[in-house]
């Protein structure tokens, strides 16, 4: 009779590593068939290795969480914006997603050339601001770099006429942010927030600050800053009472799932770890 073998130290280490890796790879989302699943990236277009790493994590996530839409929060391209740059800073990092038929729908940031509205894979159809519907969600894409009376009038009309269960707005400059570099775009907030409140917008995604931050609901609206899918300002967040959660130690992107009256979200780091997650219940009828 032999005594039971005690696990060796390397074996324990390996098991722990696998457990941590497995935990890191599990997505805190219900992953319900038929739900709307989408990813969120902002300030991504650097063409550097962190952007490629995030692209790989998105591809890995897509295999388990088959989203077919990626919303882009602006600064989709930094620096040069030649055809070769579009390959290096967009088509290559997300090559597998594009091949899988995932649709990217962009908003413009201050680093994007206005002409990029015509880049086919951004699906903006030549418009600075536009709207579309997926499942029970109305997406409203705003050009926050140039908010003119014509756009505000359009926004008022499109939000008023939105009959879907959810209204999600996304654009580059955050109405609420506690990052030190830029912070809240208060001048924009004064213009946009009254319309959001008036027409019952549910969730707003923005970038511009290169961190992840979830803001506590402001006047009934949920705000996310997700501007670190390529760029990163490590340690730049100065959390306040408005901050519900934040992460500024690594690049991040978001995964979102909308099913009925529930919206689940998760912020995923470049290492594939969920650094924040939660659920939003639709309150307006």
């Amino acid at each position: 009779m032999t005594a039971p073998r005690r696990p060796t130290l390397p074996a324990v280490g390996l098991a722990l590593l696998l457990a941590v890796a497995a935990a890191a790879q599990s997505l805190p989302l219900p992953n319900v068939p038929g739900s709307l699943k989408f990813a969120v990236i902002g300030d991504n277009g650097t063409g550097d290795s962190p952007q490629y790493d995030v692209g790989q994590q998105m591809t890995a996530a897509h295999k388990r969480f088959p989203f077919d839409l990626v919303i882009m929060l602006g600064d989709n391209m930094y620096g040069g914006q030649s055809p070769a740059d579009f390959v290096k800073k967009f088509e290559q990092p997300y090559a597998e997603l594009l091949t899988a038929g995932v649709m990217f729908r962009a908003s413009l940031g201050n680093h994007d050339r206005p002409q990029n509205v015509s880049y086919e894979l951004f699906n903006m159809n030549g418009q600075r601001y536009y709207s579309y519907v997926r499942n029970n969600v109305r997406f409203v894409v705003i050009d926050s770099t140039q908010v003119d009376p014509a756009q505000l009038q359009w926004l008022d009309t499109i939000l008023r006429d939105a009959g879907e269960d959810w209204t999600v707005c996304y654009f580059h400059h955050p109405l609420y942010s506690n990052a030190a570099r830029h912070g809240s775009s208060v001048n924009l907030r004064v213009l946009l927030e009254p319309l959001f409140i008036k027409h019952g917008v549910d969730v707003v995604f923005s970038g511009h600050d290169h961190v992840y931050e979830r803001i506590k609901p402001q006047k009934g609206i949920y705000y996310f800053v997700s501007g670190a899918a390529g760029q990163l300002r490590r340690g730049n967040t100065r959390p306040t009472d408005e901050t519900a959660a934040y992460f500024d130690q690594d690049q991040t992107f978001m995964l979102v799932e909308v099913a009925g009256d529930h919206m689940n979200f998760a912020a995923i780091s470049r290492a594939g770890k969920a650094v924040d997650s939660g659920i939003i219940r639709r309150e307006r009828q």
């Binding site: 680093h111 994007d112 140039q146 009376p149 208060v186 001048n187 004064v190």
Partner: protein, 216 residues
């Protein structure tokens, strides 16, 4: 008891309301930005479209006086000098702007190059008076140069980035009427009546009269 009127006269003479207002706005915008922007958007019509009319009336008075016979910008040859100078005033910042948006990686701002044509007339007026004194010839020179730069900027914006449909016919009619009025004033001034066109400009009912009174 006479301190307050004396102070207000001093403030009016040195245009102290401008830096005082700018300081208040700066502090306000950085301490309570939401209320500041709410106020500034709400006051945009009153300030940009109404109050500025009175301000430009004051500027017009300066220009009219400077281009009148005996004025520092009379005859027209002299008046053209600041207008031509405004080409340099606009060209150099626009050139710098287009040069810098690339290295600063702000391509979205590239289309805003005509904005660099804008010269703050009020601030220019204030600074020129501060440096040279209220009666110095440089003051109307600076004003004409600033107004001409702004006019170039407006024309450029209208031509390349109109926010609304253009109405060139209406604009041309307005310009022709304005030029005809100016020519009429000018001819009246060169007649034997002794009334120069600036005199007519100052006559009751003239748009310049109100502005002149506000200054006195």
């Amino acid at each position: 008891m006479r301190t307050v009127p004396r102070l207000s006269r001093f403030a009016a003479e040195y245009l102290l309301l401008l830096p005082f207002g700018a300081a208040i706005a700066l502090v306000w915008a950085n301490t309570f930005p939401e209320s500041y922007f709410r106020f500034s958007y709400a006051a945009a019509l009153a300030v940009n479209d109404i109050a500025m009319v009175f301000f430009f009336a004051l500027m017009t008075k300066e220009v009219v006086e400077a281009t009148a016979p005996g004025g520092v910008l009379h005859p027209w040859r002299r008046a053209w000098l600041p207008v031509l100078a405004s080409v340099g005033v606009t060209f150099v910042p626009a050139w710098l702007h287009t040069l810098l948006v690339g290295p600063l990686d702000e391509p979205m701002l590239a289309q805003g190059w005509p904005v660099t044509f804008a010269v703050d007339v009020a601030l220019s007026y204030f600074v020129a008076r501060l440096i040279f004194g209220a009666r110095h010839p440089a003051v109307p020179f600076v004003i004409v140069m600033a107004i001409a730069s702004d006019a170039l900027g407006l024309l450029t914006l209208a031509a390349i980035n109109p926010s609304r449909p253009l109405h060139p016919f209406g604009g041309i009619v307005f310009l022709v009427v304005a030029m005809a009025l100016a020519a009429w004033f000018h001819r009246s001034g060169s007649g034997t009546s002794g009334r120069t066109w600036p005199d007519r400009a100052r006559s009751p009912g003239s748009p310049c009269t109100g502005a002149a009174r506000t200054r006195r």
